[in-house]
């Protein structure tokens, strides 16, 4: 446990909502750049530089999306060149770059989100909303892989029994249907045992509570408050128009006001926060280790 994962899931969720939420609803290039930088550095801090799996496809996606916009949209005043009788404009190019930066940034935030928010953390969040929903989620998380394994087991049992007569696709499909129907029967029959086990342990006796091994401590409250304040500052900047930015027909940016500076600084802090927590944690460990 370290960094953001050390905090209560509610605090962590609030952080992700703030950081990704701002990035989702703005087209301001500086905010988007900050979002991308923050999300990417957090991803590297979590998975390491070598944990490149899944990172490369996102970069390719970024490049493709950034290129598609100027090729399909021809608004904008500054024509760079003409292709197939269609003008390719600087404004459309910049817009495409920013739009895909927004999407990639948010995707990277979600990548870290899924890493930090393991099933029990999500369950805890759901449990706050409805204990029943939390139970259903927990059961689904258990049964989906269970059915997968049983399907595999039925399939190999049937295979060794000669269910498949030949090595061809039609035969495989026919066998697959048999396996599926056997799986459904198995699931229903064994569901009875699970239902018995649930009612034997008092399911439905009274209003359920939802237990989770997490506490909401002072550090969690601080983090939550900090996130809300920083996000609030950014929102204030966005609402007042200090961060307004127009792409078409010509790129126009609002003049740099003090409020805009505060907003940019706040979002920079917000985006860098998890990386700082993560690095701070590992530095702390290194110090503690070298002392002993």
């Amino acid at each position: 446990m370290q960094g953001l994962a050390f905090y209560n899931p509610i605090a962590a969720a609030v952080y992700f909502i703030c950081a990704a939420g701002v990035a989702m609803f703005t087209m301001n290039p500086l905010l988007l750049a900050l979002s991308c930088a923050g999300a990417l550095s957090f991803d590297i801090a979590l998975r390491g530089l070598r944990g490149r799996q899944g990172r490369l496809p996102l970069f390719i996606l970024f490049a493709v999306m950034a290129l598609i916009n100027p090729l399909t949209h021809h608004n904008g005043a500054t024509v760079l060149f003409v292709m197939n009788d269609n003008p390719v404009t600087l404004e459309a190019f910049i817009y495409g770059l920013n739009a895909s930066a927004m999407i990639i940034g948010v995707l990277f935030w979600f990548r870290s989100f899924s890493r930090i928010m393991t099933s029990d953390r999500l369950l805890y969040l759901f449990g706050r909303l409805s204990p029943k929903a939390a139970l259903i989620l927990s059961m689904a998380l258990r049964y989906v892989p269970l059915f997968g394994r049983q399907a595999k087991r039925i399939n190999s049992a049937q295979k060794a029994l000669g269910l498949y007569k030949d090595d061809n696709a039609i035969d495989a499909l026919r066998g697959g249907l048999h396996v599926f129907s056997a799986l459904v029967t198995w699931a229903l029959e064994n569901g009875i045992t699970t239902a018995d086990s649930m009612s034997a342990r008092g399911y439905g006796v009274s209003r359920r509570t939802s237990y989770a091994p997490f506490r909401f401590g002072r550090a969690d409250a601080c983090l939550t408050l900090l996130c809300v304040l920083l996000a609030g500052a950014v929102c204030a900047g966005l609402a007042s128009g200090a961060l307004a930015f127009r792409y078409y027909p010509r790129i126009v940016s609002a003049p740099l006001s003090p409020l805009a500076c505060v907003s940019y600084a706040a979002y920079a802090c917000l985006a860098a926060l998890p990386t700082i927590l993560e690095i701070g944690e590992s530095l702390k460990w290194r110090c503690l280790k070298s002392k002993t």
Binding site: S119, D120, L123, P131, L135, S138, M139, L141, R142, P145, L146, R149, Q150, R153, I154, S156, A157, Q158, K159, A160, L161, G162, Y164, K165, D166, D167, H178, S181, A182, T185, W186, E189, N190, T193, T194, D196, S197, M198, S199, A200, R201, G202, Y203, G204, V205, S206, R207, R208, T209, S210, Y211, A212, P213
Partner: protein, 538 residues
């Protein structure tokens, strides 16, 4: 005062003509361990489920069931759910949640306890059961034995007064089963918990029981202190097969002495009642045919690239017309070896031949026609239809050494464990295999079904079928095998004719062998023990 009192209990299932239970009366005091035994269909499960109101079978009953002096139908819901705990025989299907800690908390969440109270009890229970290491694990990562202990712990967390167990060890290997039973016994002695346990493997359970309750055809055959009851059961044909070996041996002689339960007591009984003038029985040397049915040659296999080898330099040969048993602990590669033999997994090195022909030369699924057939561990994976008749439609049942026609109208899942296994066997034999692979075939079967199964397999062998059987059950291997192999970490570490195999191993051997070791030589089955004892009567 008795904690549970059952008075003149008679129960009839809906739409049934006969009583499932008839006029049952007994009482159980606080802290007593009662072992319930009886043949399949004698009403054990019905009785135990009637004691747990939430899962009582549908039907009508007369008589009274009193819990702590109160009629069980009038207890309020919370008390009924918490104070009477129930664990059934299926470890996997009883688990509800995806994580161990959540499963532990499940019952308390149902009762609506606040977070802090749940946290405390969950930690306490995890400590008591030594579950700290698996607390954060997914429930499907656990072994069968661990799952069943988790089920027990998540019932115990509700602090019950009575624990009802319906064949809790049926699906476990012998080591996990012994651990489960000793855990239950520890709960009983340390918490003065009342335990009522249905069990068909009495080897471990009987020595720990205070009382025995025997049911036959829905009637109470006897109920009383374990020793006295056991002495009576040892001479009853319907019950004696399930008893511990020492007791069964005792039951075959008419000697007035305290009935022995454990291996140690059995040894004392033998030494005090018989001499050892004749130390060994004469036996024929075992010889096998020369034609190999299944050959493994330096086979290596692993499930994933970075994992450990599941099969490691595995070599052995099974000859035509013999029954070959493979013994070994969990994860020793026993089942994997059968999967490899039936081409369900592909080794990365080495060679497997079936009847002298390489596996990859069996094209177009010909391996599975008139050649090799696998009876998997879970017989339910074989059933695809809604009645046994449809299931066995087109299957040639004429030559089978058993008859399933009385059950044709039933759903395969509604059959007893033994019947399911036979139905599965009928399907497996339909491809007319010359080599039959069995994976834990007697798991969950009672003693009688087990003996029936052994008889059938031996009948198949006399028809020329070669059999490879993977099992945890040493007693089964001893009854059935011509040759045995012991697997350890994916290797066959020893391979010998059955008689020598069991005489040579000191732990992986039968209770009879452990009982007679050093006094007699090479005695490993009950029949052999009886014969040599008769030769040595004082």
């Amino acid at each position: 005062m008795a904690l549970l009192e059952i008075e003149n209990l008679t129960f009839t299932y809906n739409a049934a003509h006969t009583n499932a239970l008839e006029n049952i009366s007994f009482s159980v005091g606080r802290g007593e361990f009662v072992c319930v035994c009886g043949p399949t269909g004698s009403g054990k499960t019905t009785l135990i489920r009637l004691l747990k109101r939430e899962i009582s079978p549908a039907g009508s009953y007369s008589g009274r069931i009193l819990f702590d002096g109160q009629d069980i139908r009038q207890i309020d819901e919370r008390t009924a759910a918490a104070k009477i705990g129930y664990v059934c025989q299926k470890p996997e299907q009883q688990i509800v949640c995806d994580k161990v800690w959540h499963e532990l908390a499940f019952g308390l969440e149902n009762l609506g306890l606040p977070n802090e109270a749940i946290r405390r009890r969950v930690s306490e229970m995890a400590c008591y059961f030594g579950m700290e290491d698996m607390f954060d694990k997914r429930t499907d990562e656990l072994s069968g034995g661990q799952k069943q202990l988790l089920n027990l712990a998540s019932v115990m967390i509700m602090q019950p007064d009575v624990l009802l167990l319906d064949e809790p060890t049926a699906q476990l290997d012998p080591i996990a089963a012994a651990e489960f039973i000793s855990t239950v016994h520890r709960l009983k002695t340390e918490l003065s918990l009342t335990v009522i346990m249905i069990e068909h493997r009495l080897e471990d359970a009987l020595p720990l029981s205070d009382k025995v309750l025997a049911l036959e055809n829905g009637r109470l055959k006897l109920f009383g202190p374990a020793r006295a009851a056991a002495a009576e059961l040892a001479v009853s044909p319907a019950f004696r097969d399930a008893l511990p070996s020492a007791l069964r041996l005792w039951g075959r002689f008419d000697i007035k002495s305290e009935p022995p339960f454990t291996v140690g007591e059995g040894r004392a009984f033998i030494e005090s009642s018989f001499s050892n003038r004749v130390r060994a029985l004469t036996r024929e040397a075992y010889s096998h045919s020369d034609a190999p049915a299944l050959e493994f040659k330096n086979v290596y296999f692993r499930y994933d690239r970075n994992g450990a080898d599941a099969l490691k330099n595995l070599s052995f040969t099974v000859y035509e017309g013999e029954i070959f048993c493979i013994l070994g602990g969990n994860g020793s590669g026993k089942s994997t070896c059968l999967s490899a033999a039936s081409a369900l997994v592909k080794p990365y090195a080495g060679q497997i031949r079936v009847f002298g022909k390489k596996l990859k030369d069996y094209k177009n699924q010909t391996l599975y026609r008139n050649c090799l057939s696998l009876l998997p561990q879970d017989a339910q994976t074989l059933f695809l239809h809604n009645t046994l008749r449809e299931e066995l439609d087109g299957v040639d049942t004429q030559d089978l050494p058993f008859d399933l026609t009385p059950y044709y109208s039933q759903h395969p899942y509604d059959l007893s464990g033994g019947q399911q296994q036979l139905a599965a066997l009928a399907k497996v034999l339909d491809t007319k295999p010359r080599l039959l692979l069995l994976d834990e075939p007697t798991k969950g079967l009672d003693a009688r079904a087990k003996h029936e199964f052994v008889r059938i397999i031996k009948a198949l062998r006399s028809h020329g079928v070669s059999v490879v059987c993977v099992t945890h059950d040493v007693e089964l291997a001893c009854l059935m095998a011509d040759r045995c192999a012991m697997f350890f970490r994916g290797e066959a570490v020893s391979c010998a004719p059955a008689a020598g195999f069991f005489a040579d191993s000191s732990f992986y051997t039968t209770a009879i062998s452990r009982m007679t070791r050093g006094y007699y030589e090479g005695v490993s089955t009950l029949d052999e023990a009886e014969r040599i004892c008769r030769l040595n009567v004082k």
